[in-house]
């Protein structure tokens, strides 16, 4: 029993650890790498160099060092992502939690705004707004991304807040004469934290992807380097047709890795919030195991080796792969016996 529990705990934290390592590595890269690489806007290098000892990731058609651009772009993309994520989550708190808790007309109005923002397509709206702004700083782009992305988290938070407001401890606080803002902040919010964290991470991911898309279209922040503007430059500089993979692969890969880290952490949070996801597969595994060992004890004729009762070190994958096809075969055999 003990070994099974440790193993399931390990796979649980395995996702978390992998995710945190991805995120940590990229944040560290954004913080430290710009200090070590050359100036990302230094065009004295030879153009279109493939990766080599002098330029680890090669150079662009204008002679910029790709690694230096990637490091500077990491800063830009992370700033946009985190700022937009914060904006989105604060708006989601107002439009989701407050609406869910207060009900009545406040709820109707706030939910209507959320509903409208949910169905108005985000990227086209961002494109329209961005195209009318002549000067777009990193912060303005982050603001646009945050404002257009709050609706999704708001819906999730609202439904959760609605179910929390009828709990006994919330009712107790209300009876004790606590005012609404205090009840929301002290009683409701702490119970929303896992969900809030998950939504925040998700909002960051959406914002970074959104920024990359906007920048790719040439509507990103002017004068700043992000992973998205790098992709835009690569497209404009003919990286694709000239075979300069070292120019357009790294920025996309960084976004993918960062997004993967965020999703893995989200996965781990999800399994904590929703125990069914974690417990049900483990239960299914136990049932199958019990069924098999039960058969073995019966001493029925078996083609395959009797399963070792509990071989702690054995990877579960190889064992399951050789198993008879799930329930189908199992049940037929049981009938035969």
């Amino acid at each position: 029993m003990a070994d099974r529990r440790t193993r399931s705990a390990l796979t649980w934290s395995g996702k978390l650890i992998t995710g945190v390592v991805f995120l940590g590595a990229i944040v560290l890269f954004a913080l430290i790498a710009p200090l070590l690489t050359q100036d990302p806007r230094d065009s004295d290098n030879p153009a279109m160099l493939p990766p080599g000892p002098d330029h680890l990731l090669g150079t662009t058609s204008l002679g910029y060092d790709v690694l230096a651009q990637l490091a500077e772009g990491a800063r830009g993309s992370l700033i946009v992502g985190v700022t937009a994520g914060l904006v989105a989550i604060v708006l989601a708190l107002v439009f989701g939690v407050v609406a869910g808790y207060l009900r009545g007309w406040t709820d109707e109005v706030l939910s209507l705004v959320t509903g409208i923002m949910l169905v108005i397509p985000g990227l086209p709206l961002m494109i329209v707004i961005a195209s009318y702004l002549e000067v777009r700083s990193l912060w303005v782009v982050a603001l646009i991304l945050g404002v257009t992305a709050f609706a999704g988290p708001a819906v999730v938070l609202r439904s959760q807040a609605r179910s929390l407001r009828v709990r006994d401890y919330v009712a107790a606080a209300q009876v004790a004469g606590e005012r609404a803002p205090r009840v929301i902040l002290v009683e409701v919010l702490p119970n929303l934290l896992p969900l809030l964290a998950a939504q925040f991470l998700f909002a960051i991911l959406i914002a970074i992807l959104g920024e990359a898309g906007l920048s790719y279209l040439g509507l990103g922040p002017n004068g700043s380097i992000t992973w998205g503007t790098m992709l835009n430059d690569a497209q404009g500089g003919g990286a694709l047709t000239r075979g300069a993979w070292w120019w357009f692969v790294p920025p996309g890969l960084m976004i993918a890795l960062f997004g993967c880290g965020l999703s893995l952490v989200n996965f781990a949070i999800d399994e904590v919030v929703n125990p069914k996801l974690r417990l049900a597969p483990a239960a299914a595994k136990r049932v199958r195991k019990a069924r098999r060992s039960g058969r073995d004890k019966l001493g029925a004729a078996r083609d395959h080796e009797p399963a070792p009762s509990t071989a702690a070190g054995e990877p579960s994958t190889s064992r399951s792969a050789e198993e008879p096809r799930d329930g189908a075969a199992d049940q037929k055999e049981r009938v035969d016996v």
Binding site: K15, L112, I116, V119, I120, P121, L123, P124, L125, I127, V128, I129, S131, Y132, L133, E134, L205, L209, A212, G213, Y216, L217, G218, L219, L231, Q235, L240, T241, G243, W245, F248, G252, I255, A256, F258, G259, C260, L262, S263, L264, F267, N274, K276, L277, L279, A280, P281, A283, A284, K285, R288, S316, T317, S320, A321, E323, D326, G327, A328, Q331
Partner: protein, 331 residues
């Protein structure tokens, strides 16, 4: 009935909000788009009075009209189906350009969305059925697919299959050297399918993971319900439990999500169309943005929004019919 009335009211208000937003954005944002646009146009060539006038109306630079009068005027044009005239392809009406681009987007993104949904639901149901086995260890990799920037996937596909291997064309929706325009022939259909393969693959790769994960999680939750245990105890065949008891119920939320994503087909893949130079709505919008063709840009935005609203409304009605619980919950 109140359910349908509420939904109808919601969509009416949203439509009004979207149109008003479309009207307000150019007027509320800092800077003077009219002056900027006029200067840009004059630099690139002559501006006829009629063009200047249409831009004036669009951007609200008419001095002797209040904002309210402009708003009324704007609605009047809209009701008559007049979205203005494109500046880049003068004097083609905006509506005509959009009508030409819509079928391409709906055909490509719609088909790809359906393929992705069917594939994702099938694989997700299977992964949920196989919970607690080696399949579980593959699940986190689907998140990797979801966090890929999809236009970057498109770039990679072009680089590998078009530039390096030369298997697929880089741009366009059909072979423009062979055909003068769309026509009804097998050769043309073949050319369209050939050109649509990589764009569709891009959409499937970037969206199938979401369906798979959602379906798998619903499946795991459904399979731990008591009625599944009852069904097993009755000795029903696993195939029957899988299809009739588990998958059907687990697919409900995904079906709702499918409705929503069908609604967003028109808004779908703006950046992807740009990467593949696919002649759809997204390409049109980006082209308009690049050339400061504000009438075209806002027209496309409006059409996209209205299309999304219409599709979602229809989906709402259908879903309220399929799953009566949604009707009572919202009442």
């Amino acid at each position: 009935m109140t359910f349908y009335l509420r939904r109808l009211a919601f969509y009416a208000i949203t439509l009004w909000a979207a149109i008003s937003l479309n009207f307000l954005i150019p007027r509320m944002l800092p800077g003077d788009p009219f002056t900027i646009l006029l200067a840009k146009l004059q630099r690139s060539g002559g501006v006829t009075p009629s063009v200047e006038n249409s831009i004036r109306l669009l951007l609200g630079a008419v001095e002797d009209q209040t904002l309210w009068e402009q708003y009324v005027h704007y609605w009047g044009n809209l009701v008559r189906g007049d979205l203005g005239v494109s500046v880049t392809q003068f004097p083609t009406p905006v509506t005509e350009l959009i009508a030409g681009a819509l079928p391409w987007t709906i055909g490509l993104v719609g088909t790809a969305t359906v393929i992705s949904f069917v594939l994702g639901i099938g694989l997700g149901a299977f992964a949920g059925w196989k919970r607690g086995t080696w399949v579980d260890s593959l699940i986190p990799s689907t998140t990797m697919m979801q966090s890929l920037p999809y236009f970057w996937v498109a770039l990679l596909l072009i680089f590998v299959f078009s530039v390096t291997l030369g298997w697929f064309p880089i741009i366009g929706a059909y072979d423009v050297f062979e055909f003068n325009g769309p026509e009804w022939s097998w050769a043309f259909v073949g050319s369209v399918l050939y050109h649509a393969f990589l764009p569709a693959l891009t959409i499937v790769i970037s969206s199938v993971g979401g369906w798979l994960l959602g379906m798998r999680n619903m499946m795991v939750a459904t399979l731990s319900e008591d009625y599944i245990t009852t069904a097993e105890a009755k000795g029903l065949r696993p195939r029957r439990i899988f299809m009739t008891y588990a998958t059907r119920n687990a697919a409900m939320p995904s079906l709702a999500g499918f409705g929503v994503s069908l609604g967003f087909v028109v808004a779908g893949s703006l950046v992807m169309e740009q990467v593949f130079t696919y002649p759809g709505v997204g390409k049109l919008m980006i082209q308009a943005v690049r050339n400061n063709d504000y009438a075209l840009m806002q027209g496309v935005f409006l059409v996209i929004t209205v299309a999304v609203l219409a599709a979602l409304f229809i989906m709402d009605l259908i879903y309220g019919f399929i799953d009566p619980r949604t009707r009572s919950n919202n009442g």
